[in-house]
């Protein structure tokens, strides 16, 4: 049965009437065209579908819509408009942290989630914060360097 589910999506109030079991990743991609949110595994193991719900990192492929009623959701498309994103994006470019780019939106959301609570993380803390995000191209080192760089360059932003 369908329910009316309302939430803030990248700052805009939206509402849908669907089964509350509908996966958030499908709603974001199909209903709202936010294809920056990727589906890699559909099982919450790869992190390509990561978004922020209420400021917290979640795997949208595992999130039934019923759980996000009355919450605030930020996808990579929303985050892209911020000053923090600019610092991270520059750092990712500088450090060579993007190859095919498929994991990148998820990595950026995980980085943002980390930096929000820990603005000057150590390498081990970055690794732990990204432990739910898989990358098949880079071997992770450049991504970690990028986040260390962004934290330094973006002092005051987080």
């Amino acid at each position: 049965m369908e329910e009316k589910i309302e939430f803030l999506l990248n700052g805009k109030q939206v509402s849908l009437t669907v089964s509350p079991l509908t996966r958030l990743v499908d709603v974001l991609r199909e209903n709202f065209g936010l294809t920056g949110v990727k589906e890699g595994c559909g099982e919450g193991e790869c992190g390509a579908c990561s978004v922020l719900v209420g400021g917290k990192l979640v795997n949208s492929c595992l999130t039934p819509l019923g759980i996000v009623n009355q919450t605030s959701i930020i996808t990579i498309e929303g985050f892209r408009e911020t000053a923090r994103y600019k610092v991270l994006a520059d750092a990712f470019a500088q450090a060579g942290a993007v190859q095919c780019g498929y994991c990148t939106p998820g990595m950026l959301m995980a980085a943002e989630a980390l930096l929000q609570s820990n603005s000057l993380p150590k390498e081990q803390e970055i690794r732990e914060a990204l432990s739910g995000n898989l990358c098949r191209c880079t071997g992770y080192s450049m991504i970690i360097e990028a986040i260390l760089l962004a934290a330094k360059e973006g002092e005051g932003l987080w």
Binding site: M1, E2, E3, S19, P20, L21, T22, R23, D26, E30, E39, G42, E43, G44, E45, G47, S50, K56, L57, V58, N59, C61, L62, T63, P64, G66, I67, N69, A110, A113, E128, A129, S131, G132, N133
Partner: protein, 289 residues
Amino acid sequence: MVTTYIPNSLAEALMIKDSDHDVTILAGGTDLMVRYHSGQGLLPEIRKPVLFIGQLAALQQIEKIEKTLYIGAACRLRDVLQHPHVPEILKKAIREMASPAVRNSGTIGGNICNASPAGDTLPPLYVLGASVLIKNLTQSRELSINNFILGPGKVDLRPNELLFSITIPLYEHNVLFYKKVGARKADAISKLSFAGLAKTSGQILKDVKIAFGAVAPRVVRSPELEGLIIGKNISELKGLFPKISKGYAALLQPIDDQRSTIQYRTTVSLNLLEHFLTECCKPKTEAEH
């Protein structure tokens, strides 16, 4: 399309559970959405009505009252991890569970009720002597965790009941050892795990609690074997290692599966046991939680 219920209060949830015994409980959804995963653009293949409980504040409280801690069943693993009064051994297990994103959604109650032989919160809850509080519309009942978990995927929850909270008595220990053995540092199902707590006072081993995970249909804990070493002088412990080890070897029931083998699981479990007992033999200073 299945029926879904999103109650606004615990009372409403209990009423629904009372009138529809067939409902599937969904808290964080991190197990259900995987188990019933259909594919891109499709609803999960849950055939029974679904009762959403993750939004209920009544199930998300963590409270310490004197020497007892109460953790609401729908507390996210992340919130359990961050709470100052949660015992360290439980935190150690949670830190190694899944990933940050899954810990932000998944709940401790979900991990318990899933009752996987490899459930990571379970060995710490067993050694902490945890119990669970179960409610229906009119009554409550309390069970120790080892009586609540009946077998793989099975818990002692009647059709009209919900798991309400987990009770943990807070004792002091000065030896703590937790080890999860998995294929990688995150997002790994345990091949085996070990949780051990002990309290030594001077030369005497005053208390010890040992549990093994993922090596039997349920967590292995033996108050009988623990009784063989409680009260002993730590200088005598080393001599008892072979007997204790043999005792646990008889209780472990590991299997060969895609993650590991009987031989690996048995060998490593007993190695971890010996490591823990060796730690118990070392003279300590003060007790800590």
